[in-house]
């Protein structure tokens, strides 16, 4: 093995460790983070995204909403609303962002999702959020107004 090749093998893991958690769904979740989904009570499902210490809370928040839209798309629903907690859902107090928590510098964001067949107050349009996801992922960054554009 050449010295150049050995150097590459030695540096590759270091480079990987320095990357922010890439956007992925629960099927691509790993020890470094990724999406998750848990069945909830009633008409609620909890979806979210956990990241490593190289990803910021705002991006994780946005990824959680992308996950919510993907869940709505997979369920064939054109709209959905999100709640920051089950108590908010009990009050039907809708949100436009996820709950973000930090442990050891690693952010985790989640929302409670309720799927809708029709548009409603503060509902998000599934197609619009997915379009935004594609734009954000293509640009390789998140934008401050991403949520505003898809929240009614």
């Amino acid at each position: 093995m050449s010295l150049q090749l050995r150097t590459w093998y030695a540096l590759a893991p270091i480079a990987l460790l320095g990357c922010a958690t890439a956007y992925r769904n629960e099927a691509g979740s790993s020890i470094t983070g990724g999406g998750f989904r848990e069945e909830g009570p009633g008409k609620l499902v909890k979806v979210g995204f956990s990241g490593n210490s190289f990803i910021d809370g705002r991006t994780t928040d946005q990824y959680a909403l992308f996950r919510a839209a993907e869940y709505a798309q997979a369920s064939g629903k054109p709209y959905f609303v999100v709640y920051k907690s089950m108590r908010d859902a009990a009050k039907d107090r809708r949100a436009s962002e996820a709950n973000v928590g930090f442990v050891g510098g690693k952010p985790q964001a989640f929302v409670w999702v309720r799927l809708l067949d029709e548009d409603a107050s503060q509902a998000m349009e599934t197609a619009a959020v997915l379009k935004r996801r594609d734009e954000v992922l293509a640009a390789g960054t998140s934008t401050p107004d991403a949520k505003d554009e898809v929240t009614r």
């Binding site: 629960e26 008409k43 609620l44 979210g48 907690s85 050891g104």
Partner: protein, 159 residues
């Protein structure tokens, strides 16, 4: 159990071992009324009744656990996060008075930098399928069952 749960909500062995020494499984007395709790990410919860802590474990591949009803109890979860060489743990709890045959959902998470636990009542008549459980109050693990119920207090979500 999903990847995130496996990766970050794994119960720390040391704490689990110490907890096991204190908590024994709750065993229903003959004819004792019960309620059901859906534990959102699965796993064990702790139940404190009459000043004694018990563990309650769902059946395999189930989120549902049975708990004693008709008197105020405390419920909670041990959360443990691994971050590199560091381990972070917390034990959020609350109390409430389960109704016989009532159905509830419990979730324990980190929001901001705080551990919080919330509990709602499953309500098929509600638009979202859940309603507020008005008996929720602060943890009172060591209150006697015949003592007056603790006054309802805002949960961590409302603070």
């Amino acid at each position: 159990m999903n990847g995130r749960t496996r990766a970050s909500y794994v119960v720390a062995l040391g704490l689990a071992a110490s907890a096991c020494a204190v908590q024994r499984p709750y065993v229903f007395a003959p004819g004792e009324v019960s309620a059901t709790v859906r534990v959102i990410d699965g796993g064990d919860i702790s139940v404190c009744k009459d000043g004694t802590m018990y563990s309650v474990t769902p059946p395999p591949k189930s989120q549902l656990v049975s708990i004693p009803a008709s008197e105020r109890i405390a419920v909670g979860r041990l959360l443990v996060y691994q971050a590199g060489n560091m381990s972070y743990s917390c034990y959020p709890m609350l109390s409430f008075t389960p109704r016989p045959s009532g159905a509830y959902a419990l979730d324990a998470v980190v929001v901001g930098g705080r551990c919080v636990v919330e509990l709602v009542r499953e309500d098929p008549l509600s638009a979202t399928g859940v309603s507020l459980e008005l008996s929720v109050g602060p943890r009172d693990c060591f209150a006697r069952s015949d003592a007056p119920a603790a006054p309802a207090a805002p949960s961590a979500w409302e603070q």
